[in-house]
């Protein structure tokens, strides 16, 4: 089928990332004493959610041809906010969660507004706003701590069965129709919901396609009547939402908040690596959030293997860097090939 071949060809980067992920993940599970068990899957999913969400956040501005250096900071800010707000009675928690997600979204919108109306390059605008967000996070939580509702934390970091059992849904999760889904880790379920309810509709909206158009050729997009400002702001706003989601989940996972500046930076840098590994062009215009999610999973799968191969902790960064460099090089080779042709006619 001709269409199929085309689609495969256009998603080579993604296929490559999926292959890499499967390689690392299968090796890990094969050598793990409890490999391929639900427990390992849940643990892996929990550990991948935050970096996955932050990588998705990074993707949207990158598609529009910019970089967002504040994704780690937004994640940290929402993490600290959640450690204050997500506890108490049921409705208080729901409200807390909504406020956390809204705060991330707002931070993203501010980034977009600074870039569009301030006419500042994204990389420098978000470097500055990122510092501001970290500042606010430190103000909220000067020392690590805080409290997140234990039940909620337990329910959302386990599988679907535990979630239902905790909140007494569907016969405490024993309903027959639920059985095929009971093993799915909650982080995976949440991620799937986000992809189907937010990312895919965005991608298929006029604004979303405008984001791709801008990254591909801003001049041509303008001449074609794309509303440049609106699309750019939307890109950063969605990035803020995704980063906020990551921060919220980190709070659930660790039951606390921590305005950890080096950690924020590491998440930002890893998000860029995940975007590249996933096959999204740093020049914009092609790729997507799902690609970056896979890219993030590749990065996590690499570090899982350190537990198996018993590499001295001091050497881990070295190996992580080497494997990452290799993975990024494979992903980047495609970009180089494309660039060569058009080099000077831009």
């Amino acid at each position: 089928m001709n269409d199929l071949r085309l689609r495969l060809g256009q998603n080579l980067g993604l296929l490559l990332a999926i292959g890499l992920f499967l390689l690392f993940w299968l090796v890990y599970n094969g050598l793990h004493p409890k490999g391929f068990s639900t427990a390992v899957l849940i643990q892996n999913a929990n550990e991948s959610f935050v970096i996955g969400a932050v990588a998705m956040a990074q993707t949207v501005p990158v598609l529009a041809g910019g970089l967002d250096l504040s994704v780690g900071a937004v994640m940290t800010l929402v993490n600290c906010l959640a450690s204050v707000l997500v506890n108490g009675s049921g409705w208080q928690m729901v409200l807390g969660i909504l406020v956390c997600l809204a705060a991330g979204t707002l931070a993203g919108w501010v980034n977009g507004a600074v870039v569009v109306y301030g006419r500042i390059q994204p990389i420098i605008a978000t470097l500055a706003t990122g510092a501001v967000y970290i500042g606010i996070a430190l103000f909220i939580r000067p020392t690590p701590g805080g409290e997140v509702d234990g039940d909620l934390s337990w329910a959302l970091t386990n599988d679907v069965y535990e979630f239902c059992a905790t909140y007494g849904l569907f016969d405490d999760g024993e309903a027959a129709w639920l059985a095929p889904f009971a093993w799915i880790p909650m982080p995976m379920a949440i991620m799937l919901l986000v992809i189907f309810l937010i990312w895919i509709p965005f991608r298929n909206s006029v604004t979303g396609r405008g984001v791709y158009a801008i990254g591909s050729s801003e001049g041509a997009a303008y001449m074609s009547g794309v509303r440049i400002d609106r699309c750019k702001i939307a890109a950063f706003t969605l990035a803020g939402f995704f980063a906020g989601l990551g921060g919220l989940y980190l709070a659930l996972q660790t039951s606390s908040g921590n305005a950890d500046v080096p950690q924020a930076g590491a998440y930002t840098l890893n998000s860029i690596a995940a975007v590249v590994i996933g096959g999204t062009s740093l020049m914009g215009g092609s790729g997507g959030a799902i690609c970056s999610l896979i890219g993030a999973m590749v990065i996590r799968a690499i570090s899982f293997n350190f537990r198996i191969f018993d590499i001295a902790p001091l050497l881990q960064p070295l190996f992580e860097g080497i494997v990452l460099l290799g993975a990024v090089s494979i992903g980047a080779a495609r970009v180089f090939r494309v660039k060569n042709r058009l080099e000077l006619l831009g």
Binding site: Q10, N204, V206, S217, E343
Partner: protein, 519 residues
């Protein structure tokens, strides 16, 4: 004309200036429904500015525009589109990473009830439009970047048709098409004419205009010279109208009766993508060789290729009879080759605007101004002063940013910067664009002095006067090849224009040259 056949688009007294340059001067222009109206003129005659004003890309300084009797003023291309004016520009306006269907549906895609893009409907519409332009072989899912240039141009035409134009402007829309596609486009345009569209057709290809146009308008120096029904003037007469009579500049005398000179730069069958299709030339010691032809026939690419900027070249380049590989400007500049390129756009490629005049001057020759590994300030100062004096650069203080200088003086800085490297081969890319007549004369004299001192100069200019006044020989490029070499008395305006339009012996063969070009 009968009243019911009133003009669809009417411009009166429209003027536009860019800085001190008059691009359009009190232009009155009208075109009607159901006709193909060709706009003719030399480079810089004002055609591009005219269509940019109509399409809302730039706003006129004065004058009014009426569309179907209503006075209009477009703020941006979006507003012009809304009024039914659709333009196919020379530079393609497609997004390379998006699929054909996404490109065609970019401004107004079909939507589902949820407000999202209806991919199926979009694909159907794309297939319909592609079928209309005879491109059924293009898969709507294909990314535009993977299409050959000729297909891209057809997609561009399909995209324009998809917007339901009332006035369609085609600016050199056939420049990259294969000859069979050109025929398809003819049929489409004739069909659109029958449907009552108003078509503005800008092309440098005389035979296309003969085949298509109902009415022709000639522009020259920003003025509308004449409008006449097609077929009432011979190509010769049209060329005469296009060039007019104006020799504005004064040139230094050319050396007389020089014999054969040994070639310093030899180029053999240089090819690059579909922009250079086998260029061969020689430039001798002390010779000024002009590169002529219409804009965008490969002149710019030729110079960039020689300067080592392009990759993926084939062909041979010899300097002093030795083959050289050109892989970077740094290498081309090296003493063993000694090449310099004065680029077209001094603001982006020639100068670092915020840096000082002195820093800019010293930039290219840095290597020769050192003692040990450090830049020697005394040497640098002396060299810079030498250049400021030699080229009479009017600068208060060389420590000021170069952006504070006038255009002419900025251009002198660009040239001086390269003269400091003592080049033997100088490539010039339209160096006198946008500078005043006085400075132009100084530059002409400078070029002649450099040539007399032994430099070989390859001089691309869009101004035919300069080709005639400055150059010992003139090579005319068309479609990435040299189609004509003019020497001595042959270098006159008529010969240059005729060769640029590729009229004469090989005019009929011209479209066929496009076939067999891979993207």
């Amino acid at each position: 004309m009968t009243p019911d056949n009133s003009p669809f688009l009417e411009l009166s007294g429209v003027s536009k200036r860019y800085g001190g340059v008059r691009a359009l001067e009190k232009v009155d222009f009208a075109c009607r429904r159901g006709s193909i109206h060709a706009v003719l003129g030399e480079n810089g005659a004002g055609k591009s500015t005219l269509i940019k004003i109509i399409a809302g890309v730039v706003q006129p300084d004065e004058g009014t525009m009426r569309l179907a009797g209503q006075q209009v003023r477009f703020r941006d291309p979006l507003a012009a589109n809304a009024a039914g004016i659709v333009c196919i520009f020379q530079e393609l306006s497609l997004m390379p990473d998006l699929s054909v269907a996404d490109n065609i549906g970019i401004s107004n895609p079909p939507r589902t009830r949820l407000g999202l893009i209806d991919k199926r409907a979009q694909r159907r519409r794309t297939e319909e439009l592609l079928a209309r332009v005879g491109c059924e072989d293009v898969n709507p899912l294909e990314q535009v970047r993977n299409l050959p240039l000729s297909r891209r141009q057809m997609v561009e035409i399909a995209k324009a048709l998809g917007r339901g134009p009332r006035l369609l402007i085609l600016d050199e829309a056939t420049s990259a098409l294969t000859s069979s596609d050109v025929l398809k486009v003819y049929d489409i345009l004739k069909k659109l004419r029958e449907e009552g569209l108003c078509l503005l057709y800008i092309s440098h290809r005389m035979h296309e205009i003969e085949a298509l146009a109902d009415t022709c308008s000639v522009f020259r120096n920003g003025r509308h010279i004449e409008t006449f029904p097609a077929g009432t003037r011979s190509p010769d007469e049209i060329v005469q109208l296009m060039i007019g009579r104006e020799m504005a500049h004064v040139y230094p005398p050319k050396p007389e009766g020089r014999g054969a000179v040994p070639p310093v730069l030899e180029v053999q069958d240089l090819r690059w993508g579909d922009r250079l299709n086998g260029v061969s030339l020689e430039v001798g010691k002390g010779e000024i060789v002009g590169l002529g032809g219409l804009d965008g026939q490969g002149q710019r690419e030729l110079q960039l290729a020689l300067f080592g900027v392009l990759s993926g070249l084939s062909g041979r380049v010899l300097v002093d009879g030795r083959p050289v590989t050109l892989s970077s400007p740094a290498q081309a500049k090296h003493r063993s080759i000694g090449m310099a390129l004065i680029p077209e756009d001094r603001k982006t490629e020639g100068l670092m605007l915020p840096m000082s005049i002195a820093d800019n001057l010293g930039m290219a020759a840095m290597g020769s101004l050192t003692s040990g590994v450090f830049i020697d300030p005394a040497k640098e100062r002396a060299a810079i002063q030498r250049m400021v004096d030699k080229l009479k650069i009017k600068a208060g203080d060389v420590a000021n940013p170069v952006a504070t200088l006038s255009g002419g003086n900025q251009q002198k800085v660009v040239i001086a910067k390269w003269l400091l490297t003592e080049p033997r081969i100088i490539l010039l890319n339209d160096p006198t664009r946008g500078i005043d007549v006085g400075t132009k004369q100084e530059l002409y004299q400078l070029l002649r002095d450099l040539a007399d001192a032994g430099a070989s100069i390859l001089f691309y200019t869009t101004d035919y006067d300069e080709l005639i006044g400055c150059c010992d020989r003139v090579l005319i490029l068309y479609d990435g090849r040299i189609v004509r070499e003019l020497q001595g008395g042959e270098i006159n305006e008529k010969a240059i224009v005729a060769a640029s339009l590729n009229l004469g012996a090989d005019a009929k063969a011209a479209p066929a040259n496009h076939s067999g070009i891979s993207p």
